[in-house]
């Protein structure tokens, strides 16, 4: 039954390179940004070592978390582990790592932003839009997988990866638009 997830990739290397570059890009920009700005949550600039520890920890936990979620949604457990792992890593970089860096591991704050849909400032809104954007994008990306038109993008996880990337970009875009409208409400 999991057969549809096991179609061989047309160009496995390219997909993996794409994902790895994308992860690298997002990771670097996150870490760099976190290092540059004063972190609101911690009320001070984080030390480089702290940033690295949080990055490694958050990225790993996020990767495993999203891999678990992907498996729950139907991705194969024992075959194509590398593909699912790449997908998990990408989503982790998109939507798990940045909140780890900017909000810390404070559960209440996470619940407020994500579960109760109430981000308070620009940064949180950025995390909110990009996080939901990439996850919803990845969710939508699964829709063409079962269709039998045999296109290379239908192979797991290519369409989901594209969906997540698209969703992330869209999230950034929406955040940009929202900047104007919300500027007066919460001046931080």
């Amino acid at each position: 039954m999991e057969g549809i997830y096991n179609t061989p990739l047309e160009d496995p290397e390219w997909t993996e390179i794409y994902i790895e570059w994308m992860i690298g890009l997002v990771l670097a920009s996150n870490v760099g940004f976190c290092w540059l700005v004063q972190n609101r949550h911690h009320n001070r600039k984080l030390h480089v070592a702290e940033i690295l520890v949080i990055t490694i920890l958050g990225f790993t936990v996020g990767t495993l978390l999203f891999q678990f979620i992907a498996i729950c949604f139907g991705a194969p457990l024992l075959t194509n582990v590398s593909r699912t792992l790449h997908f998990g890593a990408l989503l982790s970089a998109f939507s798990f790592l940045s909140p780890c860096l900017f909000m810390g591991f404070d559960t209440n704050q996470w619940i407020r932003v994500y579960a109760n849909h109430s981000p308070k400032n620009k940064l949180e809104r950025f995390l909110y839009y990009t996080g939901y954007g990439s996850v919803i994008g990845a969710w939508l990306g699964a829709i063409p997988i079962p269709l039998d038109s045999d296109r290379p993008y239908q192979v797991w996880p290519v369409s989901c990866v594209y969906g997540a990337t698209g969703g992330y970009i869209l999230g950034v875009f929406i955040w940009f638009i929202s900047l104007g409208g919300f500027r007066k409400d919460h001046k931080d």
């Binding site: 039954m1 999991e2 549809i4 729950c72 139907g74 579960a115 079962p146 269709l147 039998d148």
Partner: protein, 890 residues
Amino acid sequence: MSRGGYWCHLVPLVIIFLIHLGGLYFYTTGFFLTRHSIDEISSCENPPVAVANSSGCWSQKIYKKAVVLIIDALRYDFAIKHDQIEAEGSYWKNHLPIFDSIIKDPTKGSGHLFKFIADPPTTTMQRLKGMTTGGLPTFFDASDNFDTSESIKEDSWIYQLYLNGFRTVFMGDDTWGHLYPSYFKRNYSYPSFNVKDLHTVDNGVIEHLLPEMRGGDWDVIIGHFLGVDHVGHRFGPDHPAMIEKLQQMNHVVSNVIDEIDDETILFVLGDHGMTTDGNHGGASDLETEAALFVYSKKETANNEYTYERVVHQIDIVPTISTLLGLPIPYGNLGKVIPELYINMNLNIFTDPINEIPTEQKVCDSLKYLTDMSYLEASQLNTYLNKYSELSSQIPEDEVKKLTMVLLDANALKEQYDNEKLVCSEMVIKKYHNLYKRYVSYHDSVLELCTRLWSTFDTNFMLLGIFLVALSVIFLFYSLKGISIINIFVKNKTFWLICILRFFSLWSNSYIETEELTMLYLVLTVLCLKILPKITNNGEESGIMFILLIVCIRLSTNVTGGKHESYNFSESALDTFIIMCITTILIYLKKGHGIQTTTWILSSCATLLLNSVFPNNIAIALNVISSIIVVIVLLKLLTNGKVFYNLVASSLSLVLVAIYWISIQVDYIDDKMSSNMDQWILRILIPLFIYSNSVIAMLYSLLYEHKNMGIVISIFPTLMILLGPPSVYSLTLIVVILHLLKYIVIHAETGTFDIAAIMYLLSILFFYFTGHAPRFDALQFSAGFIGFDYYNYTIGGILMILNTFASMIIFVILLPFVDNRKNINGNTGYNNNVLLSFLLLVCVSTMSTMLFTYFARRHLMVWRIFAPKYMFDAAILLVVDIVIILSYSLI
């Protein structure tokens, strides 16, 4: 509940049920068009055209006697010789060497092996009808496979044998006796539907076959072996039992070949093939490619040419008729198999013909072949004209055009016949072309018939869709206490699921992967509606939620076992997984350290013991430990309520364990226990379990927690019907419902979302209990549990319980999961959860109907859309009935 309230809930449901019945009736009649059967019989005195003959009725009697052996499910690649011996398929490759040895050795007589293409549906009865009447099947016949009470009224070669005074002896599958009552001089038939029984029919045939042949008081012997088919159904082709069976068949066929004389022709044929898991009914190549082996001691065409030759199954009808000098059955659409008429090395399918031996013999036989084609084409034309007279289905101008083609060929034939030329290459070419003209006439008639008999009545189909859509709107208005606008605004997730479900039936790809689509959708609902709330709720809810989604994910394909060939010793891991989940549940529920430790230890012990002990004991251990887990889980689910039902069901479950162990151990030891033991184990135990369920159900109606009581009571029955894999699937249902109820209460999930989750889960578990919307996936053996024979009503009920078990459980337990009203002290039956569940079922059935309507010319319509429609219609009616019953009883 007041009496008035009761009726005001029940009446709309009954109305909806009636609307559904009407809608499905109209759609079905429009979709599955029927072919009119013509009751005319060809008579010996009035051939359509006169052909020179001295001995037979319409044509020469080439053979005086015939032996027809049908080996059910004899797939083409079972019969041919495979050169490379690979591990794959070693259970069925090269175990019938007799065919190849006859073909390779011309001194033994002449044999031909054909690829024998069956028209779908590939079910035995449809195939027998096709191979005796020569007609094309209609799709709807498939459902009649179990109703063999009606005899065939159309003309067939069996009836012609009877009319023309042939002494026909039959032995084997009793389907023949039902189809052709009283046409046989002697009839040794054996009941056919018990697929667990591999040997009774075959041994019966073998017992009578050779003595009858030696006895001499016969003209035609028909033998129908069922063993190969039953091995396929029970174990699949890749099983040692298949080797044994094929070797037995090989032995029988070689004995028969040794016995027959020069005046006799032997046909050995399969009525259909089987898929890689041993089923049949569909239209895939493995199912339609059967084998046909023809043998006689007379000289016929060169053997090598017929290798890989494709022959249509209905072609056997005119072939048998003309070889035995019988009239061709009136409604025959097949054409004669040329190889059996030409007694020279001549490949008539090569064009141009090279190096033709210009002997008189060749010309004569070719002339004879055209005579037979002429005869058969003329009969076909008679039938075509008669049909267009009776029904407007075939347009008259098409018939006229085709008749002109035939008359042209006839004129040419008359001209050649009158020339009376000496045999030369020229003459051979002329006759060859003439033969090809008849073939092309024949093919165009067949093409026309196939095309016309698969047209649809679109008005009826649209009316059916309209009626079901009407019921959807009616259901909207029946939802109590919520205005229409509110439904849309407040339950966005529910509508999202409705829409996604609607479009998920649009493509055959989504239907094929429906299991994964459902998994995806159910997790979507859970993540959208329950996850945000559960995050506010503390640790225990979180663990419960993770357990729930893990359990749901487990339900897709952790056990690979096919229903009938479930491997007990390999399922130790399943037991282990369930035990672990049970452990966590007990821990969360009670928090007792000792009990949890005991469970962990015992689950590890089960896994360990299974690997240590020999097969029999491992199986017994596994079954027993699984049953204990089931009982513990049921106790956990009932939470101390419905105590009597739980005790009764536990007793039944222990008996289920004994039943399974007895069946498995029997096969492994390959020794049958005594009749009395058999009777107690096979008949008495299931009957006791059924009656225990019924009594417990009636009992539970008298007390509180009726839904729970009913499900607990029916549980052992469903388990024995679903077979050993249900240890895993049904217990997962129990675990999931337990977790879901907990989470639903804590996350305050809305009624509509609960209905959506339950609906998606019920479809998911339809697959997980081993079913799929395909006819070959029906678990026919469930109809025999507790009965040695097939009873149409009881078997049907058992089949429905087996196939729709998950829907039945989920519908009955809907009010149990969504029982907030009971918390508020209001004992009123929650209406909306059932109605919104029904709404989802209606939407999905309507969607299937709509997309099947659009896809009616689709390549996959008979393979995917039509069976899917049949199953969805059945699900709709079953859910309707269960909801009405639970309303009126509870």
